[in-house]
Symmetry: C2
Subunit: 212 residues, 2 copies
């Protein structure tokens, strides 16, 4: 077990391990070796053992890893062993889709409420939730603590929304606006950037077609 800072690359691989182990467990597997994981996930076996050892010695020489134990350890490391509460800011297409997307709820991320500023949207329904006026957010979080704010506003409102969420004590921000919002240290942030992903795809299409 390594007590140093966890490299970003390792953190980004944790969800892959988790998804893999969850599937293995559902299929009834009880043990797995780093070499089997290597074959299935396409990561180097040394890398897998090294990654897992950042968090503790979960394996056993000569045997490998216990699938249920390793899955539950990784869930614990990622904080997936408890529920998270989420508030969605912006009830446009993406905001509504996220509220309606039951997969997140099934994985423990519960949408407590969805907010918007547009009078035409306030009061409408989205995913079984009444869309509330953003002006009620402050009061709402006083009654119902919420950890994660999801920014689904237009780009122009994204940074202001982030500032508001920080001021109201949100501890994590999941940003879908196509801009890197800035938050102070202590607030966790994931900028999603769907656009960037599409741009990278366009790049590859162009590169594939022009290089041969």
């Amino acid at each position: 077990m390594n007590k140093e800072r966890i490299p970003e690359a390792v953190i980004r691989r944790l969800p892959k391990y988790f998804r893999y182990l969850k599937e293995m467990e559902e299929r009834g597997a009880v043990r797995v070796s780093s070499s089997k994981m290597s074959r299935d996930l396409g990561f180097n076996a040394s890398q897998i053992r090294r990654d897992l050892n950042c968090f503790g010695g979960f394996g056993q020489q000569g045997y490998g890893y216990s699938v249920p134990k390793l899955r539950s350890e990784i869930a614990r490391i990622m904080g997936l062993n408890r529920e998270h509460t989420v508030a969605v800011i912006g009830a446009g297409n993406i905001g509504q889709a996220l509220v309606s997307y039951d997969r997140f709820a099934r994985e423990g991320f519960k949408v407590a409420a969805i907010f918007d500023v547009a009078p035409g949207r306030i009061g409408q329904e989205a995913g079984g939730q009444r869309i509330r006026p953003l002006s009620e957010l402050e009061e709402f979080v006083k009654k119902t603590p919420v950890e994660i704010g999801v920014i689904c506003t237009p780009q122009s409102a994204a940074q202001d929304t982030a500032d508001l969420l920080v001021r109201l004590g949100f501890r994590g921000i999941w940003n879908f606006a196509p801009i890197d919002v800035q938050v102070p240290a202590g607030v966790s942030l994931e900028n999603v950037h769907l656009n960037d992903s599409l741009y990278v795809l366009a790049y590859r299409l162009r590169a594939e077609s022009s290089e041969i």
Copy 2:
């Protein structure tokens, strides 16, 4: 200019350069230096010069880079100087949100059609498009060539959908299902993994709270 393979890390930074230069151009900036970009983007200035030099010597000693020229070069490199056609497979929450999201259309990614298999969805409207039966996809792409397929199906149908898209000659796949789909060489693929991003956020929340 460097004729070797472009590192993945450089490709992932291209969208950031593009967004930045677009904004600079809209504000009327005509020149920019690597050191100014470094301050604004938070990348090292050497890295920026090195990145841009992968594709060509776009700068001028003593002056820097022309904003409009660099923006248009990067647009060309990423294939953003032309339109792309897109078909969305799966008219659930995310599929419908993507069809309705006009930002993609504004950036040159036009949704030609949206498909589903559920009788309850077929014939309904989403973002001004009639939802078509997936069985019509083959016929559709014969008449209207489509480059990019967007997988918005449930996880269980994702790989089959990818296989179908490959068979029908799609050149790029943008996958929103929470699984790494496999495609043969020559087909470009971006797995989005919204879940993974949320898991990483949960990890950081947990790490922030337990390390101090």
